[in-house]
């Protein structure tokens, strides 16, 4: 039995289901294509994109990034706690992750509303088309992330169904959402 456990430990080379990593890879490729198109059109009209970027508030972007990085930290703590059997702490970190995700969503909606009030809608310029598209598709990933966190909390709440593999799979998804945001933040807010 111990031998079998050791063998399983040896053959497990990624956290969670390896299948989720296939999703991470595929989504990363799709987002790489989005970023490629963004950079291509940015290179074609740099003035227009710089003008659009100047209308974004870098502080909001930094705040968004910090909030999501904190949520990644809390979901990593959740995994660590679950690994050592501290399920109450893991559950608390799971709720904290959801709270930080919610804070990100609220700030993003407020930023969108602000931009629309300033006259920068979805179709107002190429830059804002990309801005709303990239932040919007990331937002959809985040909404799915709440379902994923729901699965994580559901797993942790009952001793009968606690699956460490599923907890780590959910955390992997959440980290992916965070990782994609860091790239979006860099492209839309920082790179000039």
């Amino acid at each position: 039995m111990t031998e079998l456990t050791d063998k399983n430990k040896r053959t497990r080379f990624v956290p969670g289901q390896p299948d989720m990593w296939a999703f991470v890879l595929f989504e990363t490729l799709v987002f790489t294509a989005y970023f490629g198109f963004y950079l291509f059109y940015r290179a074609k009209s740099p003035e227009l994109f710089l003008h659009g970027q100047a209308q974004l508030d870098l502080r909001i972007g930094v705040l968004n990034t910090l909030v999501l990085l904190l949520s990644s930290w809390s979901v990593a703590r959740c995994v660590q706690s679950a690994r050592v059997g501290a399920y109450r702490a893991a559950l608390r970190d799971g709720y904290l992750t959801a709270f930080l995700g919610l804070a990100f969503m609220v700030s993003k909606v407020l930023e969108w509303a602000r931009q629309i009030r300033m006259g920068n809608g979805f179709g107002s310029s190429d830059f804002f088309t990309y801005y709303f598209f990239l932040t919007g598709i990331h937002f959809v990933h985040l909404v799915i992330g709440f379902v994923v966190l729901g699965v994580l909390v559901y797993q942790l709440r009952s001793a009968a169904r606690r699956s460490q593999e599923l907890v780590e799979t959910c955390a992997t998804y959440w980290h992916t959402v965070d990782f994609l945001w860091v790239l979006i933040f860099a492209l839309l807010y920082v790179v000039r």
Binding site: F26, E27, T129, I137
Partner: protein, 271 residues
């Protein structure tokens, strides 16, 4: 515990001998013949579907949404032969999608999940053939076969065709999500979990198509690099994958109700 309905020993093994005898045996006795029929119908459908749209009718990749009425009328005129032939064949084979949907629904019935998944999928994808396939074909054929109509009407058919096709992907989105959830919660190992996640990737591209209702130019227009070209690549990967997955499922099918066994070769390697 799998409840396996094993076919009689004499009928289970194909005879050795000439090819025509073996084919005859498979047609008459192979317990999976209906499943293989459905799979081959699916392969045949897609092998006709793409050439009809891309080569015969030449309506994909989609034309420019920004063209003026004169160019749109000219575009219809250029295809006055290809569209009726291509879409005539599409109308004739559209019913084959029922077999595709039935096979996918069967895969869900083989899982350890509620039958509601399979039935919902069947219902949604049966309806989705209307906005996702037939409306486009009907509108474009009408535009081609009635060239004497007012150019405004032809232009309306042009917009209606491509917006109905690209802009109503919600039905496909929900369908993909149903299959995804079924795969992820299934305990019978009918499909690998990564295929469930690939369904999510496909569903997300359906979201990306929706802005084509707003944009007439750029990457999100109905012929845009993101809304059409990139999504087509994702859909292509997804489609080839699900055809292979269904092929593997039929090979592994044991007509039981428990976990689907691995293929004999894999079992041998594992031991």
């Amino acid at each position: 515990m799998s409840t396996v309905m094993t076919p009689p020993e004499s009928a289970a093994a194909p005879p050795s001998g000439p090819v025509h005898r073996r084919i005859a045996w498979h047609l008459r006795h192979n317990p999976k013949r209906e499943l293989w029929l459905a799979w081959w119908v699916m392969v045949a459908f897609y092998n006709l579907f793409f050439p009809m749209f891309f080569v015969v009718a030449q309506v994909q990749p989609p034309p420019q949404p920004t063209w003026d009425l004169a160019t749109q009328v000219h575009w219809f005129d250029e295809r006055h032969l290809g569209m009726p032939i291509g879409f005539g064949i599409i109308f004739a084979i559209a019913g084959m999608t029922a077999m595709n949907n039935a096979l996918i629904a069967y895969s869900m019935r083989r899982m350890s999940v509620s039958p509601a998944f399979g039935y919902s999928y069947l219902l949604i994808y049966s309806l989705s053939a209307i906005p996702g396939l037939l409306l486009l074909c009907i509108a474009l054929v009408v535009g081609t076969l009635r060239p004497e109509r007012n150019p405004e009407t032809i232009g309306w058919l042009y917009d209606f065709a491509f917006l109905s096709f690209d802009g109503t992907m919600g039905v496909f989105l929900i369908g993909s999500l149903i299959w995804m959830v079924a795969i992820l919660i299934d305990k019978n190992r009918v499909f690998p979990k990564w295929f469930g996640y690939l369904n999510l990737c496909n569903a997300l591209t359906e979201v990306v198509v929706a802005p084509c209702w707003i944009f007439q130019r750029g990457v999100l227009a109905w012929n845009g690099q993101i809304a059409w070209w990139l999504d087509m690549v994702v859909f292509g990967v997804y489609q080839v994958t699900f055809i292979v997955m269904l092929f593997q499922m039929i090979r592994r099918e044991d007509f039981g109700s428990g976990p689907l066994p691995d293929l004999p070769r894999k079992r041998a390697n594992a031991s």
